[in-house]
Symmetry: D2
């Protein structure tokens, strides 16, 4: 940490800062410039809070030099981490596509969705049983029943399931239903008690970026999970909030190369929530993979016109299938590949 002193800071003020650094077990290095004296804290500054110094007399400001994250940082773990979900590797050479409806509605809808996404080449299935809705009067999801419906639709096709956990009290239920990947939604990215709990289980976690979370806050949220022992963390960029009103969110494509540099963990992209309209999804999907994403999380509904929520952002099976074909070409261009599409036998016999 660097503490920048005010131009006229007294020797006493400098001594006080020095003492406070040493109290915390770090060493001190003083540099007297022409306009400012700088005091460096030498050692593991992660223990120090800059604010503790900014209140001392004569201090102008203090700056962290080291990154505050450690377990998730590529600096401390150079090799990229891969996460194996029922045989599907996320973070490796293959680009994984997770697809399915916004919300679990009926058994028929889920069966049709599973076949559609599996046939087109998705290797994991998504579906929301618990839905975070801005309005208390909107459909809140099928709840526990929805978990079963999702599992029952996906399992026969060999598709691991991904679903959102909102309430910490539901974690055991998720484990009982063999949820393969727990999704932490954007609004819960800094629900620290929830992060701590999923940090204690051995199930991969997709950690969505908060609506206005900085890269640093996002990495620190992952650090919460990792600090609990669970290192199977997948970042998911889903668009950020800006001043623009022409679309729901701005997909932050720059976050992909930046995260790839800062962390060893995989990063996927949710193009459906980012743009908020089905017609934007192909362009955003291609861009995400071209920029280096390890996977996509896409909303596909067997009949978007009838979807119970976010109808306007779901792709139809046919649109999804077309998207997957172009995506395959993008993957090849950037030296990656899509997994081979499954042969869906059960589905065809049904």
């Amino acid at each position: 940490m660097i503490i920048v002193m005010e131009p006229n800071a007294s020797e006493e003020a400098i001594a006080r800062v020095e003492a406070k650094i040493r109290e915390n077990g770090l060493d001190v290095h003083i540099s007297r410039g022409t306009e400012r004296t700088l005091i460096g804290a030498v050692g593991d500054e992660r223990k120090l809070e800059p604010k503790v110094f900014e209140i001392l007399p004569g201090v102008e400001r203090s700056l962290h030099i080291l990154k505050p994250y450690k377990l998730v940082a590529r600096e401390w773990h150079h090799a990229s981490t891969t996460i194996n979900i029922g045989g599907n590797i996320i973070g490796g050479n293959e680009v994984q596509v997770i697809a399915g409806p916004c919300s679990v509605e009926t058994n028929e809808q889920m069966r049709a969705a599973a076949v559609a996404v599996g046939e087109a080449g998705a290797c994991l299935m998504r579906g929301g049983a618990f839905k975070p809705r801005t309005s208390p009067y909107s459909f809140q999801g099928k709840g526990v029943e929805g978990l079963s419906m999702l599992k029952n639709a996906a399992a026969p096709l060999g598709l691991p399931i991904v679903t959102e956990l909102m309430d910490v009290r539901m974690l055991d239920t998720f484990l009982e239903h063999n949820v393969d990947v727990i999704q932490i939604g954007a609004r819960n990215m800094q629900n620290f008690d929830l992060l701590k709990e999923v940090g204690r289980v051995d199930v991969p976690v997709i950690l969505k970026r908060g609506l206005s979370a900085t890269i640093n806050e996002w990495l620190m949220a992952a650090e919460y999970i990792a600090a609990g022992g669970n290192h199977k963390i997948i970042f998911c960029e889903r668009g950020i909030r800006t001043f623009e009103t022409a679309y729901r969110n701005v997909l932050d494509i720059t976050a992909i190369p930046v995260l790839k540099r800062e962390t060893h963990l995989p990063i996927i992209v949710d193009p459906s929530h980012a743009g908020g309209k089905a017609w934007m999804v192909p362009a955003l999907s291609y861009a995400a993979v071209a920029a280096g994403a390890d996977g996509l999380l896409i909303e596909v509904h067997p009949s978007p016109l009838d979807a119970w929520c976010d109808a306007d952002q779901a792709l139809s099976p046919k649109e999804f299938s077309v998207l997957m074909k172009t995506l395959s070409g993008i993957c090849a261009t950037v030296g990656r590949s899509l997994p081979q599409p499954q042969k869906i036998e059960i589905a065809h016999s049904a």
Copy 2:
């Protein structure tokens, strides 16, 4: 709701929209303009989701006309709501100041804080027992023990206590400790399960605005609480996230007159978290009350230099006392008043 059709929308497309509106039990009103046909849904449009229409062929976009909130809306409840907390009225003519340290640290600190804030004229005391921290390595609060320390310090002086609830599993413990006001922090503003639970109890709730929550989302979060039956909701503006990096947050003063117009519930301001520096707190406090705030939530620490967290934003007892004097003048100018400062007898005999 208004559904705007594309310029070349067919009669069939118009008929389909019309049918969908009627299916939902609303009436239809069609207006054919020179460039667009507009279809109005007449009735309680709150049941309709605009997205359901935007996916239909020939639809350009759809717009809500009515506000989505009802229980918290001034439109439906003209008189301002006042909330009585141990005899202190929030939302009436008096401006209430809630003060105390960022986090509960020790019994001595809390006792000194209670005396300081009470003597200067604060009528409620704040203190964090559970702290939401960006880093898992930072001090996370004293936990349940902190609740007792806060209550023990505040009760002898007749100060009701305000403290943050982060984890839904802790609600019963909060009730057992007779927490007088439950604070929902900015990061949990859309933790819908938590909102539902505090909606079921009969304890006033301070609902902080999310870091990048719109006024509409904030009102809808309150609607979640109100829908559960708890109408004792106090909004708290605490600064929003913008592009500016010179200070932590931008205090959104405009939210005060806008909320006063939109809702019948009280609104207070947290100037300490907004600016992030103690020296900004007086200016922001005066501005907030001048703009119409019903109260303030201010960090005061008996010895800011020794505070365990957010040291740079806490006022000392003396600074707080000076602030209260000027604030009293501001109140008078805008036709309000501060409550009479307490005589703190127990404190002086201690």
Copy 3:
């Protein structure tokens, strides 16, 4: 336009709104709902300002239904516009890459840059003679001399030149120097007098998006140029300002499909200014073209380590050449192509 009346609006208030609409030569359509009366203005509402109604008694708010832009709107001009710049077509099937240094420095630097960008396949050359700099103490560009240096370097290789016009008084000088494409920078996107002047000349204009300009404002800025008679307008997305501090700007990739839908004019992307770091440029370039961009504007310097400005965001000739190879694959995947690289004979004989 729709004018939404307050719940208790009087008949007199409704009549007054009606009169004001008719005064402006539009027709009126009234729809009485259960909670609100809506008044529609039927006709070309572009003449009306919503604000004029919002001040009338009994009016809650008023909304534009039609888009405010017309000349640049795809709605009024369905076919995509292509712009021919010295034989290079922007907005057609080929993806055009414009490359060159941030600022014109020396004749040697410019000659080396021209060869480098031409050999790698760029078809136009960029270079700044007038530089908008945040600090008055930073290098402000070579000025008029720089225009000649740029033209002299690019012309022998058949590369049309692109350079920024900041000061309206310099327009004639730009024309005298045969600038092939005039660039309007982000900070001048709403310098309306400058827009009006470039609207009067017959030279293609690259209109960069303002740092925090909405899509709507950007289209309206182009409408200023088009209204003057110059329809050769190329939009350039260069990143927007958000709360994120880990990189300079957030490249708004979603703007590409949205602009493609809203306007018939071409859109290119500047990945260099968006991210602000050379190592991010390839990922952002691939993403931009994958998302549908018609071209790229990339900073390339013969020796980035020696660049006089923005050194950290310029690609070296070798890095640029590698980028172009992958880009060619991305183009093919999305059904487009890069132009055939030039044979640079003059350069080799030099």
Copy 4:
């Protein structure tokens, strides 16, 4: 400047950074920590660009320690600057209110406006002759004729005039019309050629903050003016662009105490453009002065219902007069005062 080296930076890389610093005439100070080596550039770092170092091998990032502004900085000019405009002092103990219509329309309107604002206690008059409008189809202002109309209305009452300069070619005309204060609008805050020109004249300048300008950029824009020799600069906060859509801009009240600390120049606030609605103006005005603003810039129209632009944000003379009375109380509470209202003799005889 501090250059932070990567963990594994070689001695050669360190030597190269050191050499580059010395080349620029500064001294070097090296600090070897446990995880990073830091290299300090000792001397006037304002000449150095951080980017020049970030491209060197082994460099992680580089940070400015000193503020980039000097002429406008309080650090270099401790006493607050006051600016005398026809006897009205801005930046002293008195709070100055500048009022008048958004745009100059007719002689009658201007005369009525002048009387209204003068009687209520405004000491300067505003009015737009050149209007920056988002749409080319909106009223663009009366132009040069408007300057005369404004002067003719204000002069008999002894009110200096404030009006916006958009086009650098109009500066001489402004001087010929004896414009007392030149306003630089938000959209032109980084129109550097315009800033340079107004830096060469001896007329006070109101510099509005750009829609998304940081405090630092705003101060640097003022530095452009000051570097030209004109030190009569008045900052004007007018709301910033954020994600919020419930109001036009967010008035950034925190900027007031921060600017007061960073610069010796006065700061005023425009509450009319910030909120965008007349009913918000009083609350925002009181907040601005309570937070320390040196003045206000308020839109007042003799008949808002008939205003040609921004009708919904103009106060009527009566509303303005009421505002001024409360404002006077706010001033007194924070130890300041409003000037004595003028006796408007000419007006009454008219």
